[in-house]
Symmetry: C2
Amino acid sequence: MDIRSQISTRDLEQFYARALEMAVESRTIIRAAVATGFDVKKKSDGSYVTNVDLKVEDHLRGLIQRHFPEHGIIGEEYPPTRPGAAFQWVMDPIDGTEDFVYRVPTFGTILALHYRGQPVVGILDHPMLDLCVSAAYGMGTHKNGERVMLTDIDPAAIDGSERVVLSARSNFTRFGDDGYLFDAITRTHPNHRIYRSCYAHACAAIGTADATIDYANRIWDIAACQILTEEAGGKYIVVREEEVRDVGRIYSTVFGKRTLVDRLTRHFNR
Amino acid sequence: MDIRSQISTRDLEQFYARALEMAVESRTIIRAAVATGFDVKKKSDGSYVTNVDLKVEDHLRGLIQRHFPEHGIIGEEYPPTRPGAAFQWVMDPIDGTEDFVYRVPTFGTILALHYRGQPVVGILDHPMLDLCVSAAYGMGTHKNGERVMLTDIDPAAIDGSERVVLSARSNFTRFGDDGYLFDAITRTHPNHRIYRSCYAHACAAIGTADATIDYANRIWDIAACQILTEEAGGKYIVVREEEVRDVGRIYSTVFGKRTLVDRLTRHFNR
């Protein structure tokens, strides 16, 4: 039995509605900041953070606290709240902060609700693309409110023209020496694009790409893509999962159209 | 002496103004088509073409014909007009047609005017990103009408975090076996993104990326990027140029911030 079937439809609908409201609010904050400008800093690991990342996470934490005071919260910019709670909101207020800083419009907000480790609600919101991809358990995946379904790829169409989105090579060498995987994937699937997580995940969930490979990311990066893909009829696999000292748990995922996902996971079994 | 200094300022201003008008018209046609839907076909080389590519090129050819009846026209979708003329309009009505078909918003219109082989006006217009990058000889590069200038990259900042945009690996193997160049560049510069030409070129011209490498493309793909980069104070190099049988002349280019462009060109000298 799927543990998520314990959640009442009424609760599910309320969680989903609140999550969509939160995405609208984060979009409003981000669009205002793009118009007026914002402060940029580098974190100790060399990655970027802006006052907008902090402001969005702060604001969403406040909303969750108000609506669901018993739920836990895991976010990129602040320590976890109520880590023992069954319901956990997981968020990356601005995924692709470097792209945000340089005004590449594919950055976005990742927001999800997990129940005992299983995803219940997932949202990827792209303020500059006017693109919100959302899903809730049993309710399907939606692109700006319109239902989307993935049809599987014909195996004969996996001939090099299949559309694959993946992480930059720097992801593959971030915590180890896995650049050979990037090399193998880009050779076998040469019609690829490289974006950061948020838009990369949206591409696979709505069929803009046939599949996406996101390598070596944190829980807030991958929080929404499983439910978004599965509710669209696609397949989601965690191909690598490990604990990295002083960093935390790292996940590598492959998701999108089933037959291509199966083909792509082979790279990780060798 | 730069041959382009033979052109009067009055003529230059007129060419530039007309080119900007044409970009507005192509944007209008494309946005309407995105809203209503369009027809997609595959060409004999496996690439996509839509009725919108044809409609935009048709419309722009008509405008050029009316305003500048003595000028030549080179476009992706139709045979050249007046190939002997000193002034040549060069266009790709929709660059990144595959992305356009799948609604990846980074596709766009490339439009340029060349005078005896030298670029005089260049425009990259992205209808879904509300991003128009334009330049005219001696008049600077503009992003939605605002002047942009590139500052060079500090050599010490070329440490793997530099932002490089490049073509997919399929470009490097399209007319030969140059995948090793893709492998070498992605290893040396692991913080990369992969987009199609139009947005890839805009990134280097306005400093969104530090440099762009576009491999094995036609004249209409690269028609605007030289003047856009040079008028912004950046550097543009053709690293490969060759005649491919049954295809035509193929160009590979590197452009953006000077010091990084010099570093990137080394990959092609070996």
